[in-house]
């Protein structure tokens, strides 16, 4: 975490992002800038568009309007005669290398061991020599506390362990940005902590992170900014202290009382 994130360069710049699924407009003009080293937690009720938004950041979803840049590169599209047209698969893939993504349901490759999951993309996408990829892969497994599980298949790991391998797999590509899509929502309560600990460590090391989560404790402790989404728009964007104690929007207050009221 940087003390003065405003001085850092922007990693993500989203401008006027709109997304429709058929007639249903899920994103209604999202503007967001995330600077290097910032941790931004996005909260909101289900259906508010928060998951769709972070899936747009690595172009798992197409957008109909607006633009998203990561590290100065326009994501998913290129400009032709002032219009945005979808970019080639190869270019989109190259952009995605810069963006790590962690999914709610882990999505580990079940036919590969934990270590093989981690080294797959570095070897075949980044073309890193196998020996080096193995070294880095083992170091990453150790970093998420699973050094002894390198030859274990995902089905033999607990949910929390699978999610930690998934984080290591994303980190192996040396991304400039990490996206977390409800990374603890599918976990048993006793496993949430081990995943959050890995994420906190990552935040301390200065990784730029956008996290969609219901973990208010994590948001309060780690986030630089907490964002509230409602109806496909950002309605609140504030440092955690202000977000949790003095939210500007009444919907935020209502949401917080629902979510936190249950817990405290």
């Amino acid at each position: 975490m940087s003390d003065d994130p405003v001085a850092e360069p922007a990693i993500v710049t989203a401008r006027g992002v709109e997304k429709r699924f058929g007639d249903l407009q899920v994103l209604k003009g999202i503007d967001l800038t995330v600077r290097k080293g910032e941790v931004v937690v996005i909260v909101g009720a289900s259906g508010s568009g928060k998951t769709t938004f972070i899936r747009c950041i690595n172009h798992l979803e197409k957008i109909q309007k607006g633009r998203i840049e990561v590290n100065g590169h326009l994501i998913g599209y290129r400009e032709r005669n002032g219009l945005l047209v979808e970019d080639s698969e190869r270019n989109i893939a190259r952009q995605r290398c810069e963006i790590g993504m962690v999914f709610q349901l882990f999505n580990l490759f079940p036919h590969l061991t934990a270590l093989e999951n981690i080294i797959e993309a570095p070897i075949h996408v980044r073309k890193i020599p196998r020996e080096e990829a193995l070294r880095t892969g083992r170091a990453l497994l150790a970093r998420v506390g699973l050094a002894e599980k390198e030859n274990t298949y995902p089905a033999q790991l607990s949910g929390g362990q699978q999610q930690r391998v998934a984080i290591a797999r994303a980190l192996a590509m040396r991304p400039a940005l990490m996206l977390f899509d409800e990374p603890t929502s599918a976990l048993d309560p006793e496993m949430i902590g081990e995943v959050l600990d890995v994420m906190k460590e990552l935040a301390r090391e200065g990784m730029t992170m956008i996290v969609v989560s219901h973990e208010m404790g994590f948001a309060r402790e780690v986030a630089n900014r907490v964002i509230m989404m409602h109806g496909g728009q950002i309605i609140e964007d504030a440092p955690p202290e202000q977000f949790f104690t003095a939210p500007a929007h009444e919907r935020t207050a209502a949401f917080l009382s629902r979510v936190i009221g249950k817990r405290d």
């Binding site: 999914f103 797959e120 075949h124 996408v125 089905a155």
Partner: protein, 259 residues
């Protein structure tokens, strides 16, 4: 009953060269047609699930046509029909070390195309059985279509594809008999040729049935090997011993057995 055990045993254990040649043809035709049919089926399956209509529609029509008409009709149509209409005549090809007769080429083509239609559906089902999250995870790691299909999706689809693939080859071994109608001297036509000389129809058809049974039985063992090779790696790792071959053969002791 007129059954000469002597003839039966003699042809079973000391088959004539006509028989052995027929056996060799049956085996090689099956392997080649299954191999090409599987590869072609893979591409048809990929076309079928593609988003481009130009690929999707021809693939649909191909599968519809070849699954919807009898294999025997396809064989006769490709060899005799095309020639009779002066569209295409299969000529013998000299490969240097051997000659590939026209009827064998036509037979191989028909079996391959027919098999491709069935394999396309099997492979398509296999690919669809792989969770969409696998594709998304692959893409998010910067993989392109060819790479994630080859390294991530197809290896997982194989688990679903291999058991029916085994059954397909079992059928293929038996479907080669249909090539007898266009004069390919595989095992059945070889038998017919021998019976027309010896008149020992009952004994010799018993022998040929034993041959097919032996082929499909041996294949059953290979199939079991394949299934454990392409099966669930986690389950294979935790399983102490592979289940015995005879169980798969006779179809018991597989389901519901504690691992």
């Amino acid at each position: 009953m007129n059954f000469e055990w002597g003839v039966f045993w003699e042809y079973l254990f000391w088959p004539s060269s006509v028989y052995l040649h027929g056996l060799w043809l049956t085996l090689s035709i099956s392997v080649v047609a299954q191999g090409f049919g599987t590869v072609l089926g893979l591409f048809i399956a990929l076309a079928r699930i593609s988003k481009h209509r130009l690929l999707q529609v021809p693939a649909r029509i191909f599968v519809w046509g070849f699954r919807g008409t009898p294999l025997l009709v396809q064989i006769v149509f490709i060899y005799t029909g095309l020639a009779a209409a002066n569209i295409f005549r299969f000529e013998d090809i000299n490969l240097g070390f051997a000659t590939l007769p026209g009827n064998l080429q036509a037979g191989l083509l028909a079996l391959t195309l027919n098999e491709a239609a069935y394999m396309a559906e099997i492979i398509r089902a296999g690919i669809n059985s792989v969770n969409l999250g696998q594709t998304e995870a692959s893409k998010s790691l910067g993989m392109t279509y060819g790479l994630y299909m080859r390294r991530i999706i197809l290896p997982q689809a194989a688990r679903v594809v291999v058991p029916p693939l085994g059954n397909e080859f079992n059928s293929m071994l038996k479907n080669t008999t249909l090539l007898s109608v266009i004069g390919v001297p595989e095992l059945l036509l070889a038998t017919q040729m021998v019976t027309s000389v010896t008149f020992r129809v009952f004994e010799l058809y018993m022998v040929v049935a034993c041959y097919y049974l032996t082929l499909t039985t041996l294949w059953g063992f290979v199939q079991q090997r394949l299934e454990s090779r392409f099966g669930d790696p986690a389950a294979a790792a935790s399983r102490k011993l592979a289940s015995k071959g005879y169980r798969r053969l006779f179809g018991f002791g597989q389901i519901g057995e504690p691992r």
